[in-house]
Amino acid sequence: MNKLLIWYGELTTQRRLTKRGCQFLGLGMLWILLFLVLPGLVLVVVSFATRGSYGQLEWSFTIENYKRLLGFSVFGWTADYISILWRSVWVAFVTSLIAVILSYPLCFFICSRPERTRYLWLMLVIIPFWTNMVIRTYAWFLILAPEFPPARLANLLGFIPQNTPLYPNAFAVYIGMVTIFLPFVALPLYASVERLDWSLVEAAQDLYASKVRVFMQAILPQTMPGLSVGVILTFVPAMGMFVVPDLLGGAKYMLVGNLIEQQFGASRDWPFGAAVSMGMMVLTMVSLYLYRRKHKEMQFI
């Protein structure tokens, strides 16, 4: 253990090297353990605690919060919370799907630009990526206002009464979610599309593959790494999003993020909020697991 050794030009001992390494790592690691890992564990514990009548924590441990999340209450069984959880998964799924469908043409278009201007086009995707999501969400208030064509069209088609905006409703939530998350898919996907080996695509075309088949077997597998990163970057935060449903969905289209926010804000029910967070974490993990399993199967084909 304490033998002399040469580590990149330095004569030292294993013990001294480890000690110095720990000095470098120490503060940063301690910080993450103290302010992320520890609070996470506390959250797990609190999810089994009870809410006192003034919103304070009481340390009598039950699984009441989880039963409530699954819909069991003194008034019998309701699907309220389960439907919120399910809706969050569904919204995250649809958002990812639409973002992927829109990202492919966008990435192909940027890659088809000459080298000189390609970078500028890419910047057009990077800017929304970094723009504050509150601003990007409320900006839709203007476009969906009653004075503008989208709301007028919806009115003509009989979806909404005259002089009402096109929000809050489910449609506005999807619009908002897709605008927020599109760059999250497009940027990683672009990295893959840029490196695409077009000779494989041409080979498939030479062999009379249909357009669908060219995409599924020549383009999709090659862009899978970027696509996977993009989908995960979208799906996980989309499930917990609460700004978009809060502003564009109103009370009618609540997602799990709003439910958590409510427990820590207005309702002041930390134990239940912690239980909902745990439920969301489990759903996230299960979704990622399913996604990875599907991904592996695709590689077999």
């Binding site: 030009g9 890992v37 057009l124 601003i135 839709w140 820590f264």
Partner: protein, 262 residues
């Protein structure tokens, strides 16, 4: 350069329009002379002038700046040390994997769950000290926690790309650890550290969820202010404020690209 189908071009243009039309609308209505409604009543910069006289907005901007600067400075120092510690020492494979896992935690945990965990943890800490009342300190701690990982990841990739030859040569010539850090490692790392710091700064300015859960009444930041304001109803002043935030973001991105492309 490859030829693409006109339909692909059209779809790409529609997608870009979809991303930018709302933002353009905000910019346009920030110079519209009417207070209510969305009819065009001529160009004005009044709303921008009024911003400068609005105490609440000025203090929100100040809070955002203090929060971003303080958290970025601390996170950059911690993150850089963390990156050097992880990359330059002979950790066993198992230790390395564990360190890697912990480092990636703040990146992969959904931010709302992280925020909820912080609320609960600070709530319990408050039993021992009033220092942890919701406010700027809580926000700074929260921001540093997610920034550290991003800084460490960026700096580590730079550490890998500069290699260890120069450091080894310096060690051969009997450089001490502080001397090596000061004269060799840190100067070589500087572009990576700057890129990491810029990223951390932008992340902090951009953050809404962590701030929303940990803020107190005196520590409202710009995104929180805008959120609260648009819930009451949008005004041209908010459009002007948003436009300024947007322009700052664009400037920051350009700065960040400069550093990372070198």
């Amino acid at each position: 350069m490859r030829k693409i189908h006109p339909a692909v071009t059209t779809l790409a243009m529609v997608t870009l329009a979809f991303l930018y039309i709302p933002l353009l609308a905000v910019a346009i209505f920030s110079v519209n002379a009417t207070r209510y409604g969305l009819a065009w009543r001529g160009f004005t910069l009044d709303w921008y002038v009024k911003l400068l006289h609005n105490e609440a907005i000025l203090s929100a901007a100040w809070n955002s700046l203090v929060l971003a600067v303080v958290s970025t400075v601390i996170a950059t120092i911690l993150g850089t040390a963390l990156a050097i510690g992880m990359d330059r020492f002979p950790w066993t494979k198992k230790t390395g994997t564990t360190l890697d896992l912990v480092l990636h935690l703040p990146v992969v945990v959904p931010d709302i769950i992280f925020a909820a965990a912080l609320v609960v943890a600070f709530g319990l800490l408050r039993m021992f000290s009033s220092l942890f009342e919701p406010g700027l300190l809580d926000m700074i701690i929260g921001h540093i926690t997610f920034q550290v990982s991003f800084v460490a990841l960026v700096v580590r990739s730079r550490l890998v790309s500069i290699g260890r030859d120069v450091e080894e040569a310096a060690r051969d010539l009997f450089a001490s650890t502080p001397y090596l850090l000061r004269r060799i490692t840190l100067p070589l790392l500087l572009p990576g550290i700057m890129a990491g710091a810029m990223l951390a700064f932008t992340l902090s300015l951009d953050d809404f969820v962590i701030s929303f859960f940990t803020a107190g009444p005196d520590s409202i930041t710009l995104p929180l202010f805008i959120f609260a304001a648009v819930r009451r109803g949008v005004t041209p002043q908010i459009h002007a404020l948003s436009t300024l935030v947007l322009l700052t973001t664009v400037l920051l991105i350009i700065g960040m690209e400069r550093f990372t492309r070198k």
